[in-house]
Symmetry: C2
Subunit: 267 residues, 2 copies
Amino acid sequence: MNSVSIAGVGLMGGSFALALRKAGFRGRITGVSSPAAIEAALARGVIDEALPLDEAAAGADWIYLARPIGGILASLDALDPHVKPGALITDAGSTKRAIVDRAAAAIHRARFVGGHPLAGKESSGVEHADANLFRGRPYVLTSRDAELEPWIERIGARLVFLSPEEHDRLVAVTSHLPQLISTALASVIGTEPDAAQVAGPAALDLTRLAASPYEIWSDIFSTNAEPIDTALAAFIAKLEELRAALHSPTMEQAFDQAAAAAKALRR
Amino acid sequence: MNSVSIAGVGLMGGSFALALRKAGFRGRITGVSSPAAIEAALARGVIDEALPLDEAAAGADWIYLARPIGGILASLDALDPHVKPGALITDAGSTKRAIVDRAAAAIHRARFVGGHPLAGKESSGVEHADANLFRGRPYVLTSRDAELEPWIERIGARLVFLSPEEHDRLVAVTSHLPQLISTALASVIGTEPDAAQVAGPAALDLTRLAASPYEIWSDIFSTNAEPIDTALAAFIAKLEELRAALHSPTMEQAFDQAAAAAKALRR
């Protein structure tokens, strides 16, 4: 491929552009984004040129959708008439089923591969874009693609292939559930005005995610509600089980089992 | 005071001895502990002498109970006939009501002040004892004491006065609830064998506590079951509220409220 268009030049899209360059990509990189993001991206040399989506799509061999999920869905609705026949469209959205379904319905003249780089930073925006953001991190693809895969490896990410449904079920448990837990715990602690007097690392670690901006979560909840509901139900059932076991020797087995799971997660 | 006896010379008791020394205490420090802990404590110069509890108590102006909660309760049952009249007994247990109640029933010849230094380390044992462990950390006392308070300040801790009931209610929410959450989340994630492929910082941060040894938690659960049950009930109710709000605009308010609470906890 000779030209890539990045729609949404923020932390993720900007980092993908920088990572491609670092990995040896010599073609043209165009950006589709807000005026402020475009200005910062041009100033940092992250993109070569800014264009509206239809013009960017018309000249691109690859289209990388790094907008919020709602923006990705809207882009998919708009892109098909404008793409080069046979171009590759991929995305970096945090949920996959809704996006892959939409692409199947809306994209006919190009091929679509769903993607989710499990990488990030506390700070957002192209100002914090980083060519090494994906290094050593998992990068989920929802289907195989002989052109895309080598580049994902070249930017240092670890390829993981999952169906959209599998992906969404796993991130519901490993990412969306932790967010809701942190939000709920911060709320409960907030009902005790003196809690800060005795709060230690446990309370601080578990409420850190509660500061996450709602904007990104709104789209995640609306596109992954069912797996999240299932994960919440399983978690609440487990908590009720521990609650009933506060006075019981089965608590020790529950601790041992959880400790083994926590260890396995770190392997 | 001229002599202190530390019952339980582990991370906490050993650190208290080292912190007293650093703060200028020149008297005798005796230790009551397991043979292995005593050997390590003598080798590091943490204590001057090892004695059985009754002999240590007989010669001590202060008795510092730094055993696990069950050991503190057993010590309180045994100490009264042996203490110097008017001596101070204090403790470092993670729950307070059961301990303060037991002291009120069992200690008549000395005075008792419940204590909980909110300090710790990942590694336990007197080998990791540290004169600066309490520096900048809250140190809860359940009653005022003109002799004890200045030393708590001299070792660099921040004095917090709470009734045993208030203390136990607050730590149920800020410490015991986070532990059970982490244990439950690790268990739920453990049901997904592929979770490690996509687990990011959120899953790792929230399951770290799940590796905690059950021994220390067993005593905490049995001496603080009611506040923990109340905290679990409030947390589960909040999660059910978020679950019902997955499709509702009230979720944004819940996020904003939790973010504000998380921020307040860090002030």
